[in-house]
Subunit: 247 residues, 2 copies
Amino acid sequence: MTMPSGEQWDRETFIARLQEAGEGKGKNGHSLLADIEAGSATPAAVKRWIAGRYYYQTLLPRQDALITANCPVRDVRRAWVERIMEHDGRRADQGGIGAWLQLGEAAGVTRRDLEEHRNLPQAARETVDEQLELVERSSWQAAIAATLVDLVAPDLLREPATAFEKHYSWIEKAGLGYFKSRAVQAARHAAQALDFTVRYCDTPSLQREAVRVLERKCDLLFAMLDAVEGRGGEQGRPEARPAAARA
Amino acid sequence: MTMPSGEQWDRETFIARLQEAGEGKGKNGHSLLADIEAGSATPAAVKRWIAGRYYYQTLLPRQDALITANCPVRDVRRAWVERIMEHDGRRADQGGIGAWLQLGEAAGVTRRDLEEHRNLPQAARETVDEQLELVERSSWQAAIAATLVDLVAPDLLREPATAFEKHYSWIEKAGLGYFKSRAVQAARHAAQALDFTVRYCDTPSLQREAVRVLERKCDLLFAMLDAVEGRGGEQGRPEARPAAARA
């Protein structure tokens, strides 16, 4: 697996390297999500997670629009623009953002609190903003690779659908629609993004950038959960891991 | 009409100022389009215009995706994402880019020549690239205002639909679909963009930025036509007009 850094990886090696990008500290998910999953999270912790993840949701359409803007390939844009619409929906509470607002309300977090990002720790906001900046300064190919979190570190984006029904009876079931639509979407999105990543990261330099950007994305998602859990502050913004740490 | 620069303009004044932004040298359109309209353009000149405008078409979805990416207002994104899809279409030759490829073929410019941007003068390419950069470095509100060319300097984007049918019998009529779909779109787009511009350019500074960016956009479109006509080179890239020039 150790190759001179200038060589083009074949498909298998490239995918293995992308997998390794998920093997940072987020490999086993995050304690906040594990607590929520196990039913041991306090209502306050669940609500903080909902608020933090809401801010993340609001930046997803902008992230995907940025990838679309940077991409000169019409067929990729055609696919990617669908994601923007899936986040924003066409009207009212359609789309991922609307569904998340409903989830919040079902858990007793008002729409206004969510929309005004109250209870969003500054450190959490920064880790999300940094994810958008990461896309902004990356090639569109590597930015697409960075959406492969579900594939390489699925526990970082784990959605506690079953746990919500099972353990948190104070959350109204009517608000859980988000999880249902997401499960179908996620598999389709991952397959598509992997296809584009392998096809368009077609130089040694783009392949390495893809691995690096995906790794950073995983670190930032982990840091976001840290910040939401209250471990924010300076530790909340991870330094880029040195390449040696994953050799 | 002369106001201290720090004041908020009322709706009427703001719209008047936007109109004035179209009153640069492009006020009366451009000689290339006038020639095409009059039926006096050579086939070579018509083909050069088709090639230049094709490059412009290919950047429109990316421009609109950039506006979408920069915009935090969900309802505006929902509207703007429609434009991305109208340019790119869903499949095959749907959308504005596809229709333009068909127009090219009807005029004897091969798809390959268009897609590889042969016969695109470097100066024309630069004026189009600069339009994308203009959007990139402007606020999303001012970038939306810059789409109001059809409203303030319509002759700069004049589409010689009737002239094509009347004067250029060597262009196959089947290729003129672009003009038909555009006519409907253009009026709807202008009304929507004006509405957003007035509503969201809601500070003195955003209003002035909107006027400045729209003015620059008009200048760049004029310079693009200059370059396509063969007046490119250094003169093809206009310096920003000093504010005094339009006082």
